[in-house]
Subunit: 145 residues, 2 copies
Amino acid sequence: MGAAHKSNEIRIAEILRRRNLSVTDSRKKILSIFLAHPDALTHGSIEKQAGEKFDRVTVYRTLQAFEEKGIIHAIPSSDNNKRYALCKDCDEGHHHDEHVHFLCSSCGKTICLDDVVSPSIPLPEGYRVENVQVLINGVCRECKG
Amino acid sequence: MGAAHKSNEIRIAEILRRRNLSVTDSRKKILSIFLAHPDALTHGSIEKQAGEKFDRVTVYRTLQAFEEKGIIHAIPSSDNNKRYALCKDCDEGHHHDEHVHFLCSSCGKTICLDDVVSPSIPLPEGYRVENVQVLINGVCRECKG
DNA sequence: GTAACTGCAAAATATTTGCATCCTT
DNA sequence: AAGGATGCAAATATTTTGCAGTTAC
């Protein structure tokens, strides 16, 4: 086991412990999948990558726990396919998801642009704005070449 | 049958014919539900409002046809619940859905703010932007009072 | 040891498909 | 009359729930 791998193990355990989640095989595995993928993942793609090793129900419960504890956040989309991505600075019960999400029409990946914050948008009188999420469709850097 | 009702009937038939959809009971009913509701609707709420009169499968196929023909558009959300709203100026195969959508955390309604257009957002070099969708969470006018 | 987590079975829900019949044009 | 739309039945797929056994702490 190389040093890089070991430090990743430690990092994963820390993320879980900080949220009061016990460190189990399935959680380590699913979290490592997120850490290895910069793009957003669906339940289906996680189940596939995790292999036969984990029960489908465990994947559902793990994603739910991760979302509640602020490890991942759900990303808006127009289909019925819930996507999740790693949170940068989320806490339990509080998601900092006000950055832009980019959906590439070529490769189909959804990417968090953590550094691009949502703009403030002037609404008509009478609305209280709590959170602005932006979903941009287009062609990503890799696909545009 | 009053004049208002009659003109609505005519309006509905025109919308369907313009898209080369034959004018059937289920399509008239579902389209009338959309016309009567300013907020976005899920498959479930449409099925409920249509009553026992129509088969569940017909509702699926009707919504799919409406979306393809540009009568309604799907609205992004973070749950797994597809929402649809009437298009203002959509054509077959081309949705003008670049306006802001507002999700009220109090009443749960999703509202199209047709007059609030999506801002242009500067992205890092290398992305091609085709479409910007904005989803705002907050409290709507009715709930804020 | 105890509380939390997992896997299995099964239920509940949601969505899709094929086909015979009916309706719109 | 012909093609498209619907309803029904059934196949798939997705998500949730309960519970008994297992694991982390």
